[in-house]
């Protein structure tokens, strides 16, 4: 905007030209053409949040917001893990049991073999890596459909977990570092420092991108759009950290008009920066590295990717490895929140993870979708369970509503594409 490129910009546009107004109207045009992205999911989340906040006075409280985040973190991580394989048009039905098995390995090593927790953690991640390599080998090298390979593991690992944990067994998580993830909060100043680092990083990357485009001599979007976006992120983040800094412990009432002292519960839950960090790193890899680009290419048109010299089998394998490794994180989150690892940990969650990705706007046919879509989808599914729980409705209703939302989300996506004249399957 203020800088002039060394040479005149090419006359074929790049979509970065024009005023802020042009840019915004161009965005709405792509939305009308059926590129809705995460919009339906964001809309759904907002509608549900407004609905629940009217129906239950305890919905919009710091305590419940913190609960919602810890409740959704496991699902969110698993959904993000699944995005890597779903982008290739593949599926990993074993991601849930992988999270369960690796959590079991961790807890059994710590309890029964007195292994230092960091070493046990490394073992759990190594197991995740091995499982991913195993799946990837059978899918990419042997050529078995991923549905079949991972269905086999889904069944087999439930047995493996029984063997590791023992029938009816349950191990408490006694490692304080793991228990803290879901149950402890960041000290308030630390929360603000991390917030500052995140904002500084976002500003730095945005400016770096601009500088690179300017150096290459191509158009940049109006500066006001960049600052507008960053300021919006900064305000939302600040509101969140401030809201989480309010003491959310239940009052113990008053005695003679004086508040009975209690231990404060305040600060951002520890899981939040971890989950945001994973989301950010994953998005960086997918959007800004050759690896990420190749992943989308293989998901979009495998043959084209192969002819372009991309090592398709290696990309396939890597996606399953990333998925299984992230599933380990999901397993640890789950163990931390529940406090125990049982023989059935993780066996139920995988389809919810797929549902979260689809609700968020990730295409099961591959090539379309982003990590943040899965994260938003997971929030939608978690808010349904959270809100209905607050209303005291039976669990059956929760499943019915979640299923309905999934089908609704898929319908909105399909109709918007059909209206725009695109193909239904994508």
């Amino acid at each position: 905007m203020t800088t002039t490129p060394a040479t005149p910009p090419p006359t074929i546009g790049s979509g970065h030209e024009g005023s802020a107004r042009d840019q915004i109207s161009a965005y709405f045009r792509t939305v009308r053409q059926g590129e809705m992205g995460a919009l339906p999911a964001i809309g759904g989340f907002v509608v549900l949040a407004i609905l629940f906040s009217f129906l239950s006075s305890s919905f919009l409280t710091p305590l419940n917001l913190a609960n919602l985040l810890t409740q959704s973190a496991t699902l969110m991580t698993l959904a993000m893990a699944l995005v890597f394989v779903i982008l290739l048009g593949e599926i990993d039905l074993s991601a849930g049991v992988t999270s369960g098995v690796t959590a079991a390995i961790f807890v059994v090593l710590v309890h029964n073999f007195q292994v230092p927790w960091l070493l046990a953690l490394a073992a759990a991640f190594a197991a995740g890596l091995a499982i991913g390599t195993f799946i990837g080998f059978f899918v990419a090298r042997v050529g078995i459909p991923s549905f079949v390979v991972t269905l086999g593991l889904f069944l087999g690992f439930q047995g493996l977990q029984l063997v590791i944990i023992g029938t009816g067994g349950a191990y408490r998580i006694e490692t304080p570092e793991i228990a803290a993830i879901m149950n402890k909060n960041l000290p308030i100043p630390v929360g603000w420092v991390l917030y500052g680092v995140a904002i500084a990083l976002a500003v730095g990357i945005a400016l770096w991108d601009r500088a690179r485009r300017t150096r290459a001599g191509v158009a940049n979007r109006p500066l006001i759009l960049m600052w507008g976006r960053l300021v919006a992120i900064a305000i939302a983040g600040a509101l969140f950290v401030a809201f989480m800094s309010i003491d959310r412990a239940a009052s113990r009432g008053t005695l003679n008009g004086v508040e009975i002292p209690h231990d404060a519960i305040e600060g951002v839950p520890i899981v939040v920066p971890i989950a945001v960090g994973l989301l950010w790193i994953g998005t960086f890899v997918l959007d800004r590295t050759r690896y990420g680009r190749h992943l989308y290419a293989v998901g979009g048109n495998t043959e084209a990717a192969r002819r372009a010299g991309i090592k398709v089998a290696a990309i396939r394998m890597s996606a399953f490895i990333v998925c299984s490794t992230l599933a380990v994180v999901a397993g640890l989150f789950d163990a931390s929140r529940i406090g125990v690892v049982t023989a059935s940990s993780g066996s139920q969650i995988v389809l919810s993870g797929v549902a979260a990705a689809v609700v968020g706007g990730v295409s099961l046919f591959g090539g379309r979708g982003r990590l943040v879509h899965a994260a938003i989808g997971a929030l939608v599914i978690a808010v349904i369970a959270n809100g209905l729980g607050l209303l005291g409705l039976p669990a059956g209703i929760n499943f019915l509503v979640t299923g309905g939302v999934l089908i609704l989300a898929a319908t909105i996506d399909a109709l918007s594409r059909k209206r725009a004249g695109g193909t239904l399957i994508r």
Binding site: I12, R293, Y296, G300, R307
Partner: protein, 250 residues
Amino acid sequence: MDVPVIELSGVVKSFGPVDVLKGVNLTAYAGKVTALVGDNGAGKSTLVKGLAGVQPFDAGEVRFAGEPVALHTPREASALGIEVVYQDLALCENLDIVQNMFLGREETAAGTLDEGVMERQASETLQSLSVRTVKSVRQKVSSLSGGQRQTVAIARSVLKKAKLVILDEPTAALGVAQTEQVLALVRRLAESGVAVIIISHNLVDVFKVADYISVLYLGNMVAQLETKDTNNNDVIGYITGVKTYEGSRA
């Protein structure tokens, strides 16, 4: 005449007992469009696959810019500067034009994709081919017409600094206006100094765009003609085997 960019002599390819290419000669010159015509089963696709290194020839000599070379893998062909634009295009619909043009050899800086540099080079390449049908290089390929996709696929080979570009039926699925645009693009591609081999069933297109016409008939190269010295009926005669070749190429 100049040294041809590619010169095949006595090229043979068999699949088991079936001899698909029975000693084929073919030349293509820089800055010229050579049309490869022939009926179904004449061996056109096999010849192209051999040139691309996908299915190496069994025997025969391949000279690239006068030097004898081996074409055993797609990588070898690509390293020499041979690019094939396939009929089914091989583009990723979920990616945009820039991403497709740079697929497999993205520009990076500090380990991350350098979008600005790629965007600029993509624009410049399209402009060098006088492409006017594309509005933005950041359009998704799924939103492009067949002619625009063909344009992107051809521009991709230009971006790779190809010396020989082989186009497999580039106008097969296109309407009249788009066919005109793509043929004009093929001419400009040749004028930029690239040797172009175009495979087509449409003789009207061939006569519009080609400098030379090579006719394959049942695995033999039955005629190599200069377009200005021949006519539609003769070429059809060669393709169907009714006519046999007697003259030699100038």
